[in-house]
Every structure is written in structure tokens, then in C-alpha cells.
Assembly symmetry: C2
Homo-oligomer: 352 residues x 2
């Protein structure tokens, strides 16, 4: 009994198989399988007998065996290529995940969250995705040369990316993005309409398309702007504060700031106050995101560009699910979903 053998020599609980249930119920495996999977086309009396047997034995289908034949997992991976210190401090992810979770639950699919902490993790996560543990993947926070989309494409794993990817690995790579450029134009246009003439911007990390696109929107409105008025930052509170201080040093006459995230805008507000500037009288400030927990509670409340983050998550999940569902047919072309750019709108509060 000590050595492994072909016989079912298990350590803990002996998990019953379809076979065992079939025997106990006095039917064939096929019938048990039918009952377990909905029971369509099985006489009621038999069905009940089988159900009792399932109950009695505490039978739970072995997913590996099932997946092996059906090629479905009813699970979807969400991969976030960001240290968890950021994943867990930025409300952005939480909201996005909430949307995704809701949509997947409705489809009875399990959300599996994978965090890519450092470079070494890529291999393991890649193996996980390639190994067929999930039916599809939602990829987030991809930086410029992230290998994940290519990996997924290589093994044929359906994928939707959060945010516009830098380059399409795949002709029909699906993604969901906010209209970052349009949103930025809204913000900067508003400041210009207010009569501000020295409008600065605090950007996100420019190796992310969201940050780059927002800067492009800024430039759309101010094509001849002073480069001194552009401070590159990183979407965090600390970074935003630093950038604001820098701008103040470079151009003390700055009279407006478009910060590419609410977190950065809130830090800018604080730094401006510390430097004796009144908002919005001396300097008008506009953020981006409209995070409920931030924008409404700053002093003064933040004028910002609203994007519906939870809805983006929902959309991503829906896109993926539709692609998964649309597998079978030759009519793929008709049912193939397309990438989505969600709209933004300006929410005017007191800061600008």
C-alpha cells in the first residue's frame, strides 16, 4: 500500500467517479452524465434515482476529465501586469474587476485573477494560460513590449485587452478603451474656455497608451504649447505631487492644470495649497477618471473627465464571452465582436 500503483490508492477522501454513481443507481455512466449535466431526456424516475446516488456519494464531477473532452473550463483569467501594491491601491482596478465579476457570474464562469509581479512570473502565468486552465483571458496594464498578448495568441487563447495595445499582435485583437484623447480635449478645452492661457498637464507614464493618448488630446487643443508646461508622471498620488511642484518651479505663472488621473489631480491640489495658490481662482485643475472615492471629496471637489470604469470591465467580459460563444460556426464573421471605445464626458465641480 505504500507505493503508487494503478489501483486507486488515494490519501484522503476517495472521490467517487461517474462509474460509482452509475453502479449505485443501477444505470449506465452515460445516463448519470446526462443527469449531472441538466438531465434532459432522462425519465424522471431514473433521474431521481441518479440524483439520490450523487447525493449519497457526494459526487462532484472531475473537471480535468470533463475539460479534456469538452475543451471548456467555465473559467476566465484576468491578468494584471502590475505589482499588487498598485493593483490594491488604485480604485481603478477594483471597479473594473467588479464589472468583470458581475458579467462572468451571470455567465456562470469563474473569474481567476493572476498577478504578474515580476519578470519571472511571466513564464508561470504564460504556462498557466497556455495550459488550458481557462477559456479566455482579460489582460490589463500592459506596458510597451509585454509578451502576454503574443503568448496568448500563439496558443490560440481568446483574449480581450483593457486599454488600447501599442501594436496589434493579431489582426483582430479585441480591446476596450476609453476615449482618452477625446476626454483630454474636453478637459483642456474647458480650461481654455475659462480663459486660462498657461495650461499645464501632468501625464501618466508615457509607455502606456492611455497616458500617451491623453497627452495627445492636450496637444490637440494646444498645438503650440510650451513644453515646460508638460510634466511626465506615473498616475500615482506621490508622482502627481512631485510633478505639480516641478511645474510650479518651472512656470510659477501657471494658471491651469490638466492632470491625467484623479489621484494625481488630488495631489496637485494639495501641493498648490501648500504653495499658497487658490483653486480655482489662481489655478484651475481638471482631473481624469471621476473616481467616486476621490473626485467628490477633494477640497475643492474636482472637475474631471468621467469614464465609466465598471462598465468597461463589463464590456470586456461581454466581448470575451461573445467570442467564446461564437466559436462553433462558419458564421463567425457575423457574430464576431469588435473593439470598443467608450465615451467620456466632463463633470464640472468646483476646481475648474
Amino acid at each position: 500500500m505504500t507505493e503508487e500503483s494503478a489501483q486507486p490508492e488515494r490519501i484522503g477522501v476517495l472521490r467517487p467517479t461517474l462509474e460509482a454513481v452509475a453502479e449505485l443507481a443501477g444505470v449506465s455512466r452515460a445516463t448519470v452524465s446526462r443527469v449531472v449535466n441538466g438531465g434532459a431526456g432522462v425519465r424522471a424516475s431514473l433521474r431521481e434515482r441518479v440524483q439520490r446516488a450523487v447525493e449519497e456519494l457526494g459526487y462532484v464531477p472531475n473537471q480535468a476529465a470533463r475539460t479534456l473532452v469538452t475543451r471548456r473550463n467555465d473559467a476566465v483569467a484576468v491578468v494584471v501586469a502590475e505589482p499588487e501594491s498598485r493593483v490594491f491601491s488604485d480604485p481603478f482596478f477594483a471597479q473594473q474587476l467588479r464589472g468583470i465579476g458581475k458579467e462572468l457570474s451571470a455567465a456562470d464562469s469563474q473569474l481567476v485573477l493572476l498577478l504578474v509581479e515580476d519578470t519571472g512570473d511571466y513564464q508561470r502565468v504564460g504556462r498557466y494560460l497556455a495550459g488550458g486552465h481557462v477559456d479566455g483571458a482579460l489582460l490589463f496594464s500592459l506596458h510597451q513590449d509585454d509578451p502576454l498578448p503574443a503568448m496568448a495568441h500563439r496558443v490560440g487563447l481568446p483574449t480581450v485587452i483593457g486599454g488600447r495595445p501599442w501594436a496589434a499582435t493579431d489582426r483582430d485583437q479585441l480591446y476596450v478603451d476609453t476615449d482618452n484623447r477625446g476626454g483630454a480635449r474636453l478637459a483642456v478645452g474647458h480650461l481654455a474656455a475659462l480663459g486660462r492661457r498657461r495650461i499645464a498637464t501632468i501625464t501618466g507614464p508615457l509607455d502606456q497608451t492611455s497616458a500617451a493618448d491623453r497627452l495627445d488630446g492636450y496637444r490637440d487643443i494646444l498645438p503650440d504649447g510650451d513644453p515646460q508646461l508638460i510634466a511626465e508622471s506615473d498616475f500615482t498620488q506621490e508622482g502627481g505631487g512631485r510633478a505639480m511642484a516641478e511645474l510650479l518651479a518651472r512656470r510659477p505663472d501657471v494658471d491651469a492644470v490638466f492632470a491625467a488621473s484623479d489621484l494625481m489631480a488630488s495631489a496637485a491640489l494639495r501641493v498648490l495649497r501648500e504653495h499658497g495658490r487658490r483653486v480655482p481662482e489662481d489655478v484651475a485643475v481638471v482631473g481624469f477618471d471621476d473616481l467616486e472615492s476621490v473626485a467628490a471629496w477633494t477640497d475643492p471637489p474636482l472637475t474631471t473627465v468621467r469614464q465609466d470604469i465598471e462598465d468597461m470591465g463589463r464590456l470586456m467580459a461581454r466581448l470575451l464571452l461573445r467570442r467564446l460563444a461564437g466559436n462553433g460556426g462558419a458564421d463567425a464573421a457575423r457574430t464576431t465582436p469588435a473593439s470598443v471605445i467608450t465615451p467620456t464626458r466632463l463633470v464640472v465641480r468646483a476646481s475648474a
Copy 2:
């Protein structure tokens, strides 16, 4: 081509199998399998030939098939029974997850995070755990009658719980907990030693053992305390602020507060200031957790009970991995790991 058939009619990329690699390399499936799994006992020349074939075909083993025979997944679930709004706002989880992630990476096991949002999710998560997708599970934030441990036990899934469970489902249910009671004694003892005589406490939700145990520690030091000095709260910032206001209303002469979390303590600090109390002169405050991002940055910096959260995560993972490893033998008794209570210590800063 439109209908499903037994033939490999796939939609996207045709994923190569062992068979295909074997054919291309001109060897048997067994040999390919050996190479893929480390290549022990295969002649170098053959090994290389196989590796080239694997490379060329972009072969990735099908995990479902592998799991079906090995009964291993190299994946571990972390289940958090808490709405993500809390998971993502409380740094506690992030730290714990970091510890777990590190330990699992080292064992080349994939961390799979499952969030239980509402009651409906239990079924799906239960099915996921029972379905054999993971080798084991780490369970967090279990409330009083949480069905998860029983579910896991029922299907024989090795499990380690974060925090002491209310009742052991299983004789040798493993868990990792902080010495909550001892830590609370440290905190309250410190306040008493400072000469404080009207020491209040703000508790966590008393349906969680961590909160209940900390309250017990408080009572150990103050067995005859005034019940008016005890305010039940919920570990959040909002709750902590409310509780502090309440205490101030009930006992304006309060001269010390032991808050059962740093988040609550920081809110208490703010409320005390708003009520014109100086800390620590009028009211001394001690927290619990020693969250880097909170305790050191409050004004004044928080005296608190330190628990090494990341290490707890690490410990949980290690316990689980050891249990997983210790499966095979009859010597299970000797290698069986036992639950752990991690020590606490008082970190004295300016608030008490």
C-alpha cells in the same frame, strides 16, 4: 466543417499534441513526455531532437490531460470572502497576498485568486474548488458560519485558513493566526502603565475571531471595565470615526483608546482632533496592525501592535505546500504541519 465532430475540428490555432511532437521527432510519446518533464533518463541526442520538435510546433502540454493522470495542478486558490471594495481598500490583504505569492512562486505553483462577492458566488466557488482545479486552498475573512471550510473538507481539498476559525470543521484544520489576544494585552497594558484610567476600545466586527480575541485581550487587563467604554465597529476608517465620536459622547472623560486596527485608529485620531482633544496629552491612542502606509504617517504617528502580515501569508502558503507534499507517505504523522500563532509586539511612537 460546420458541425462538431470527433475529428480535430478546431476554430483557431490547432494545438499540437504529444503525438505530433513524437511523430516529428521520430520517437514515441513516452519519450517526449519524459523530455517535457525534465528529460531524466533520455539520451542527450534524442532529448535535443525532441526539444527542437517541441519548439518548432510550439507545443504546450494540455494541463487537463496531465492533471487527469497526475492529480496535480500546481495551482493554489486563495479565496477571500469579502466584497472587493474591502479587499482592495484594506492593505492587509495586499500584504498577505504578497507573502503568499512569493512562497507559491518559489514552489512554482500558480496563485489563483477567487473573490466571493455575494452569497450566490459560494456555489460557483465551491464548484471550482471541488472540481479539482487547484491542489489546495487558502481561505480568508471567514465569517461565523461560512460554508467554505466544510465544502473543502467534504471533497478532501487541503486547506489552510487565515485567522482562527470559530469552530474546527475538521479535527486537524490548519490555520495561521496572530496572537490577537496577547497583542491586545500589550496595547492595553501599555496604556494602563501610562497611568490612563478610562481606557476605551474600538472593536472590529465581533463575528470575526480576530476582533473577538482582541476584545478578550482588552478585558484580560480591564476585567471590571465600564461597558460604555467598548464600541463595536467594523475595521474600516468610516466605522472607526463613528465609534470614536460615540465614545466621546458616552464618556467625554475618556483618556485612552485602543483601536483594534490602524485604519480605525487613524480615524479616531482625526475625530479626537476635531473634538479638540490633544493626542497623546488628553487621550492616548494605540492601534493594531502596524500598517506601514498608515501608522507611520498619522499625526501624531501611531503607537500600535505590530504583526508581520506578509509573513503570515508566507506561513500559510508554506503550511499548505508542506501538507500537499506530505501526501504520499505512511509517515504523514511525522511530517504533518501544525497551526501557527504568530507573535505580536508593541511599536511605540507618539500617540501613546
